[in-house]
């Protein structure tokens, strides 16, 4: 039998001898590391989810003309904006975007009113390609429009009793537009009350070539905050205002930060308390085993060899606790993410490393004091039973 295998054998025997205490220590280590793992998994999953959500909600920045007033997210018709029209120069915006070199995607919008059956109808000119990229959650019955076609919001279509395939004739300052409805869109938002058509044809119809009312941007926020990105862009735009969309992005970012902070705090508390309980248990063990330690020293074990035995014990406990903690933690994370946050946990084997690391660290750190006691123990006195 080699020395190493004997050492492991010895450690196992010692741990089995004090089964109750070993189980207690294992439980504490598994608990602590499982919590750390679970919190890690949850915050990782949330981070990923938030990034996804930011993408799903489309734009996170909006460029608006300086004088215009527009509340994003407040649905309904808002003729006030149109009665005091203010526009963005399409070219200026594009130049600014190139110069600021913001990473991300954008969509250009022009909103206006056209007459339909003797009443004003709110219409929006868009590039459908951009729409499909930026707003993938648009539910479309029918198909995306080709030339001389349009898409109508579902509320509006219901009100006007129109369905896909119907023709609409819109009157504006110039000659009337005849469009075929290729599909009906429903989003649950203000889009349901609008008619969407190709940006260029609306610009022509309203005689507003090269003008926009709004540009929505989907900027990836990797690392930098959205506010900073907005500020960068604002510098290049003198006649327009860059606003953050007060939609999900900001709130969920804030929420994520708060949740992460809370998790860090909880983890800290758990780790500290688990560490001190490890210290307590290990101290008792060492105290109880002082006679045995003295004996080993009397038999010719050096201080370092004794230290090695106890370090191996702690490491073994830490390892086992960490592995158990990983599975337990994954379970907890699964439960939390399913029941509280309604998202699926991103469990990767990398977290086993985190779990084992936390548990090993705790076990070794917690038994540091007791190990110093082992190191210092005087064989003569401990054998005499002092």
């Amino acid at each position: 039998m080699t020395r190493r295998r004997w050492l492991i054998h010895l450690v196992f025997r010692a741990l089995a001898h004090r089964a109750g205490r070993t189980l207690l220590l294992l439980a504490v280590l598994a608990m602590a590391s499982s919590l750390a793992t679970a919190l890690g998994i949850v915050s990782f999953s949330m981070g990923k989810r938030v990034a996804e959500e930011v993408r799903n909600y489309g734009a996170n920045l909006v460029i608006l003309p300086e004088t215009a007033r527009l509340d994003v997210g407040s649905g309904g018709l808002n003729f006030g904006v149109i009665s005091e029209p203010a526009y963005l120069r399409q070219k200026e915006v594009e130049e600014a975007l190139t110069k600021s070199a913001l990473p991300g995607d954008r969509s250009s919008h022009l909103r206006g009113a056209l007459r339909f059956r003797n009443s004003d109808l709110l219409v929006e000119g868009v590039n459908f390609g951009e729409i499909r990229r930026l707003f993938p959650w648009w539910q479309l019955r029918g198909r995306w429009p080709a030339a001389n076609e349009a898409v109508m919001g579902s509320d509006l279509a219901a009100r006007l009793r129109l369905k896909e395939g119907d023709m609409v004739e819109l009157a504006g300052p110039k000659e009337p537009l005849r469009l075929r409805l290729s599909g009906i869109v429903s989003t649950g938002g203000e889009e349901d009350g609008l008619l969407f058509l190709e940006l260029r044809s609306l610009q022509q119809a309203l005689e507003l070539e090269g003008e926009l009312t709004q540009v929505r941007l989907l900027v990836t926020t990797e690392g930098e905050s959205l506010t900073k990105r907005a500020a960068v862009l604002q510098r290049f735009l003198s006649k327009a205002k860059v606003t953050e969309v007060r939609q999900i992005a900001r709130t969920s970012e804030g929420l994520l930060v708060k949740v992460k902070l809370l998790m860090a705090l909880v983890t800290l508390v758990v780790l500290v308390s688990a560490g001190s309980s490890v210290t307590g248990t290990m101290s008792t063990t060492v105290l109880e085993r002082s006679r045995e330690i003295g004996l080993m020293k009397a038999m010719g074990g050096t201080r370092w060899e004794l230290l090695r035995i106890f370090a191996a014990e702690a490491a073994l406990l830490g390892l086992a606790g960490g592995v158990a903690g990983f599975f337990l933690g994954s379970g907890i994370a699964w439960f939390i993410t399913k029941s509280v946050f309604t998202l699926s946990p991103e469990i990767s084997p990398w977290f086993a490393g985190v779990s084992v690391g936390v548990s090993l660290f705790l076990a070794l750190l917690g038994s540091l004091g007791p190990m110093i006691a082992v190191f210092r123990l005087d064989p003569v006195r401990s054998l005499r039973g002092e």
């Binding site: 130049e95 600021s100 070199a101």
Partner: protein, 448 residues
């Protein structure tokens, strides 16, 4: 001051090398010490002399080939060591028989010292002040000699059980040489090695594809292309380089592990038998320390090579736009001083394409406009250091005089017209040139 910090790792490596030499050749302390100091002085002097008389590439090339050659030697010794540890009656290698002779005690420190001295001298900066220029090598010499003495006293304090086998000794020496040479990007061997591996794989796969997989996409499902694409990646070069880099030291460690324990069956007293066995195991474990040290040094060398500790001038690209006629104009004087001899990077976006290019005034006094990419490597771009630009991908150095000439890893030049107010480029040509270059160097996926 900065110079001192730059040289510290090399001087430490030199100390450890002397320590190893002393430990590897016990009983010949005097010879080792004298020849080590002599070698170091010769190395420093030789480097300075050669770099004065010839272009600097000559002494650098000599050092590189010396270090590279020692690495080859290490490989053969490692294989031999492993073979011998499994096959008992293998005749001693000639090289190993030399270890322990008086020739080795004089020769090994001399050669090691020369290479180490050369590497140290190459790290000295060019100074304008002639007094300092003389003083710096002298200081280096002094430090080298003092460290030899330091290594001697350290070696005497080291536990006597730390034994060295000849192969492990060589492994650690070579590893330390590689480590100190990796501190300079001009001498580094790991980056060229991984580059070679990548190129080799690339060529092999290419030929394999062409001979077997014509016509394209007939036999192979698209998922497979993913794996084949991986073979072209930088990762293959890196990991392949790692394997070649670490294998010899690992083989030597394995050889030491596989060495049989002494036969103790004939000893009757149990305690004595066990003591002998335990001592043999301990000796073996101690012998593994030196190969472990070699592995650490090799890892440090690879790390230094991958994250070189040199500061490059690398400005953030400025975004530029083209006029409706498709012309990009960069003013001679404006936001940036175009003719200050430094690299100026620009970014042009058109549609989904982004083109990086730079404008530079060469030492010959001519402006040149080039892509921030070369015809061979992935477009990781360039950084500027003293008198050179460096390709971030393959770590090749390109002298400033040759920037603007096409070929190799030089930045791909772009046609432009220079007028009084600045530089005018054709956006379309730029974009096309970028697409052509980048397409051929990044996505070789799909064979042809």
């Amino acid at each position: 001051m900065q110079l001192v910090f730059k040289l510290i790792p090399q001087l430490i490596a030199w100390t450890v090398m002397v320590l190893l030499l002393l430990r590897g050749m016990p009983g010949r302390r005097g010879a080792v010490l004298i020849s080590a100091v002599t070698g170091f002085s010769l190395g420093v002097a030789g480097y300075l002399l050669l770099s004065r008389l010839f272009p600097v590439t000559l002494p650098l090339g000599i050092i590189r080939s010396a270090v590279g050659g020692s690495f080859f030697l290490l490989w053969s010794v490692a294989v031999a060591a492993l073979y011998r540890s499994t096959v008992r009656d293998f005749p001693l290698l000639r090289v190993e028989r030399l270890v322990g002779t008086i020739y080795c005690a004089w020769g090994a420190p001399l050669l090691t010292g020369m290479v180490a001295g050369g590497i140290g001298a190459s790290g000295l900066p060019r100074l304008d002040n002639s007094v300092l220029q003389l003083l710096a090598p002298l200081l280096l010499l002094l430090a080298g000699a003092l460290l030899v003495l330091g290594a001697r006293s350290a070696e005497q304090r080291l536990t006597s059980s730390l034994g060295v086998t000849p192969s492990a000794f060589l492994a650690a020496l070579v590893a330390l040489l590689l480590f100190s040479s990796s501190s300079s990007i001009l001498l580094d061997l790991f980056a060229p090695l991984s580059m070679k591996v990548m190129k080799g794989t690339h060529d092999f796969v290419h030929q394999f594809m062409e001979s077997i997989l014509i016509p394209d996409h007939v036999f192979i499902r698209s998922a497979i292309w993913g794996y084949i694409g991986f073979l072209f990646g930088k990762e293959v070069g890196f990991w392949g380089g790692m394997v070649i880099w670490f294998t010899p030291a690992l083989l030597i460690a394995l050889a030491i592990r596989l060495e049989p324990l002494p036969s103790v069956a004939h000893i009757r007293q149990g305690a004595q038998r066990r003591r002998l066995l335990a001592d043999a195991i301990r000796t073996k474990q101690y012998r593994l320390v030196i190969p472990a040290l070699a592995l650490v040094a090799l890892a440090a060398a690879a790390y230094q090579s991958s994250f070189p500790n040199v500061e490059y001038w690398d400005p953030k690209p400025l975004a530029v736009t083209a006029t409706p006629a498709g012309e990009i104009f960069i003013p001679r004087k404006g936001e940036v001083e175009l003719e200050d001899g430094r690299l100026h990077k620009y970014l042009y976006k058109q549609g989904g394409k982004e083109v990086r290019f730079f404008v530079l005034l060469t030492p010959a006094g001519k402006l040149t406009v080039d892509l921030d990419a070369c015809a061979i490597c992935k477009p990781d771009g360039y950084g500027q250091s003293e008198g050179m630009v460096l390709c971030y991908y393959c770590k090749t150095l390109i002298p400033l005089d040759t920037v603007g000439k096409p070929g190799g890893c030089n930045p791909v030049p772009v046609p432009f017209t220079e007028r009084g107010d600045g530089v005018h480029l054709d956006a379309l040509t730029l974009v096309n040139s970028w697409s052509r270059t980048v397409q051929s160097t990044t996505s070789s996926k799909g064979g042809k």
